[in-house]
């Protein structure tokens, strides 16, 4: 591979179904196995795995369905999670640690503490979020490979 050229080395896309709590975490576990096989730095895998699991649980809790796209590039591992769902009316508020609209059922599952989105941002080197209320949310985040 040529230095300085950003190349796509591996890509795969996964479907996450809303409300499917029993499978919540499966996609993140599969992505972790793939990154491990590709020889990505374990510390970066851990950061990305935490971000992925938070994003996956957000889809299960709040959306109908989403596609998670993994792209392993020469310079970064990039994730896009695009969902069909209720969207986020106030992104700034949703990014505040502790702000949550979770139901008791979500908390009983161990999630909904209002830490998800801030934690995805904290564990990634690039982060962006777009949302249309009533349509859905798209998260893009990446960890940069050194």
């Amino acid at each position: 591979m040529t230095a300085g050229v950003d190349e796509l080395l591996y890509t795969e896309s996964f479907t996450i179904h809303g409300n499917d709590y029993d499978r919540g975490g499966e996609v993140s576990a599969r992505v972790k196995s793939i990154l491990k096989e590709l020889g990505i730095d374990p510390l970066l895998i851990r950061r990305l795995s935490i971000a992925n699991f938070e994003a996956e649980m957000n889809v299960i809790m709040y959306a109908q369905e989403a596609t998670l796209v993994l792209e392993v590039r020469t310079d970064a591992v990039c994730i896009t999670v695009a969902d069909r769902g209720q969207g986020i009316p106030d992104i700034e508020l949703a990014m505040q640690p502790g702000y949550s609209t979770a139901t008791p059922e979500m908390r009983a599952r161990g999630f909904g503490a209002g830490l998800g989105l801030p934690n995805i941002k904290k564990n990634s080197d690039r982060f962006s979020i777009e949302s249309k209320p009533g349509a859905g949310t798209t998260l893009r985040y990446a960890v940069v490979l050194s």
Binding site: Y21, D22, R23, G24, G25, E26, S28, A29, K32, P42, R46, S49, I50, N52, F53, E54, M57, R107, R109, G110, F111, G112, A113, G114, L115, G116, P118, N119, K122
Partner: protein, 117 residues
């Protein structure tokens, strides 16, 4: 402290015989029922003490690189969760102790908080 010694200190039963390295030295612990808090604040390598006996606890341990899980208050997760833990190499234990008792005993035996640094 080895996981096998921790099991004795907490009077715990193994739910996952032969899963994970039993001679692994564990120095830190994190206790929570909210996995979001574990994902946000727990450093890798810690033992997780939790009352949440579901599949999300196992995924949390695997994805956040934790040493294992001890369920409190005699909780036992369903078979599907035990199967997932085996597949993901996450050792599971259960104790009749409460969260406070379990953490107190671990603290007494020199286990430190798993602060994220």
């Amino acid at each position: 402290m080895r996981l096998s010694s921790i099991a004795k200190v907490l009077e715990a039963d193994w739910l996952s015989d032969g899963v994970g390295p039993l001679d692994l030295e564990i120095a830190t612990c994190f206790a929570a029922d909210l996995m979001s808090e574990v994902l946000a604040f727990c450093a890798p390598g810690a033992l997780l003490v939790t009352g949440l006996a579901n599949i999300q606890a196992v995924h949390t341990a695997n994805l956040a690189e934790l040493a294992g899980i001890i369920f409190i208050n005699e909780k036992r997760p369903p078979q599907a969760v035990l199967d997932a833990a085996r597949e993901q190499d996450v050792p599971l234990l259960t104790t009749a102790l409460t969260m406070f008792d379990a953490c107190g005993r671990l603290y007494e035996h020199g286990i430190q908080p798993a602060r994220k640094g």
